[in-house]
């Protein structure tokens, strides 16, 4: 049986320690810097660039923070003791070069080396977003990132309703909503952001009220207008991280596509009809665009809208929720977004099919030698002229 002192001494002979200079050069060369202290210590200051993996969660979370075991990992705690034990654990987990910072954060700070205060959520937000904080892929940093995110929704209808509500609930800090319509009785079978009380009211107002009552952290930026070639630059001007396209017409969809390429903003695309929905992500530079998939819109008689052909009320709930999911993944930078893949959902058969989408090198907007480089007359383009 050994005492704590004896155990610590023994561990320190087995692991590699580095002083501040040594640790700094390892980090400069690409080592992962891991703070193994407790949450309250982390909240009072940290070494810039560190990721927080409390020692109690080290075994379960280190792979997330440092997936490559061949990359050196510099660990620190307050004085260099907990990080010594942590380094031993990492070598047992197969990490090739775990290094403990001798003297820890205390010496680092005393020697006048750079530190920073992490942003934290504060108690109320920690409670509101607790189920996100428990997910390692989101956590406090991810939640802060969501609160800083700006997502623009085109349409506050069938797709925009569930998408906006879930994005608001998730704590996306700024939601832009573009919609010129007022709430109509025929909308209420599926457009859950609106209600019987808001009949006749602009959808942007109705959605804004609902979102603000769901989550006061969210700033809603309403655009009570239809997206056009004339207003698109003004609407995009504030800067958006992701666009969620839930428009109900082809001219808007082609306009959103072209604008997103010229502004380098990923678009989460969803469309619905009767029992079927399509959803994919168009990320400029990383995959195909809407025009690569559909170079031309169908003649108007071949593509009836939901107003003409109907839609099962819950279908936009499924597709709009997938759009919200993809938008959150893009905002957080996690997972595999639906780039270059289109999900086709058939509610009647209860099946998803996945199709591969590829960039078209001859695409007039995102191809190698684009022929369309400024906004066109999208209504005319979609009216069947040229067919």
């Amino acid at each position: 049986m050994s005492s704590y002192r004896e155990l610590l001494e023994a561990v320190k002979t087995e692991i590699e320690e580095a002083d501040a200079d040594g640790a700094q050069s390892l980090v400069d060369e690409g080592a992962v810097l891991v703070d193994v202290r407790e949450r309250d210590e982390w909240a009072q200051g940290r070494i810039p660039g560190a990721v927080h993996v409390p020692r109690g969660n080290l075994e379960s979370r280190i792979e997330q923070a440092a997936p490559d075991r061949s990359r050196p990992v510099v660990l620190y705690c307050a004085a260099g003791n907990r990080s010594a034990f942590a380094a031993k654990t990492l070598s047992e987990l197969g990490y090739e070069r775990p290094v403990s910072l001798a003297g820890g954060y205390t010496d680092w700070q005393r020697n006048g080396r750079p530190t920073e205060l992490p942003r934290t959520l504060g108690p109320a937000r920690q409670t509101r977003y607790s189920r996100h904080l428990l997910i390692p892929e989101v956590g406090e940093e991810g939640q802060l990132r969501l609160l800083d995110s700006r997502i623009l929704l085109i349409g506050a209808g069938g797709l925009g309703s569930p998408a906006s509500l879930y994005l608001a609930a998730a704590g996306v800090g700024k939601l832009g909503i573009v919609d010129a319509d007022v709430v109509d009785e025929t909308n209420l079978q599926r457009q859950i952001a609106h209600s019987t009380d808001s009949l006749g009211e602009p959808k942007t107002d109705s959605a804004r009220r609902r979102i603000e009552s769901l989550n006061p952290d969210v700033e809603v930026v309403p655009f009570r207008e239809r997206l056009t070639s004339e207003n698109v630059e003004r609407i995009l001007e504030p800067g958006w991280d992701v666009i969620v396209d839930g428009a109900d017409n082809f001219p808007t969809r082609y306009l959103v596509n072209d604008a997103s390429i010229w502004h380098d903003i990923p678009v989460v695309h969803g469309s619905i009809f009767r029992f079927e929905g399509q959803v994919t992500v168009f990320k400029p530079g990383a995959g195909p665009c809407y025009r690569c998939l559909f170079p031309q819109p169908p003649p108007p008689d071949m593509a009836p809208s939901c107003a003409e052909g109907g839609v099962l009320g819950v279908l936009p709930g499924v597709i709009g929720s997938i759009q919200a999911t993809e938008a959150l993944k893009l905002a957080l930078g996690i997972g595999e977004p639906l780039i270059g893949r289109l999900l086709l959902y058939d509610a009647l058969s209860g099946e998803f099919d996945e199709m591969k989408l590829r960039r078209d090198p001859a695409c007039p907007v995102c191809g190698e030698s684009p022929s369309i480089t400024s906004y066109i007359d999208y209504v005319e383009f979609c009216s069947g002229v040229g067919h």
Binding site: N249, F250, S271, I272, F273, P298, E354, K356, D360
Partner: protein
């Protein structure tokens, strides 16, 4: 024999059928067989005897435009999906 999924926007041309069987060793032969039985589909799928630019055909999840277009070979039992653009939101 292959199974062809008919999108909702084209079902009025196939008497409401959601999936129909068709024969052909290439996409062209297969569509010819299909349009022989459902003539109204022709105007919805082809333009100047080529695939219309607003329709995508997938063979086993791959867009035939990225392969050999209408000459893309079709194996017996392949799943074919006709995917038109839909605007609804």
């Amino acid at each position: 024999m292959s199974r062809v999924r008919i999108p909702p926007t084209l079902r009025s041309e196939t008497a409401g059928e959601r999936e129909v069987e068709a024969n052909g060793r290439t996409v062209r032969e297969l569509l010819d067989d299909l349009m022989g039985r459902f003539p109204a589909l022709r105007g919805q799928l082809l333009e100047n005897e080529e695939l219309a630019p607003f329709v995508n055909v997938y063979v086993e999840g791959e867009d035939v435009r990225t392969r050999d277009g209408l000459d893309t070979p079709v194996d017996d039992g392949s799943q074919i999906i006709l995917l038109p653009a839909m605007a609804g939101g």
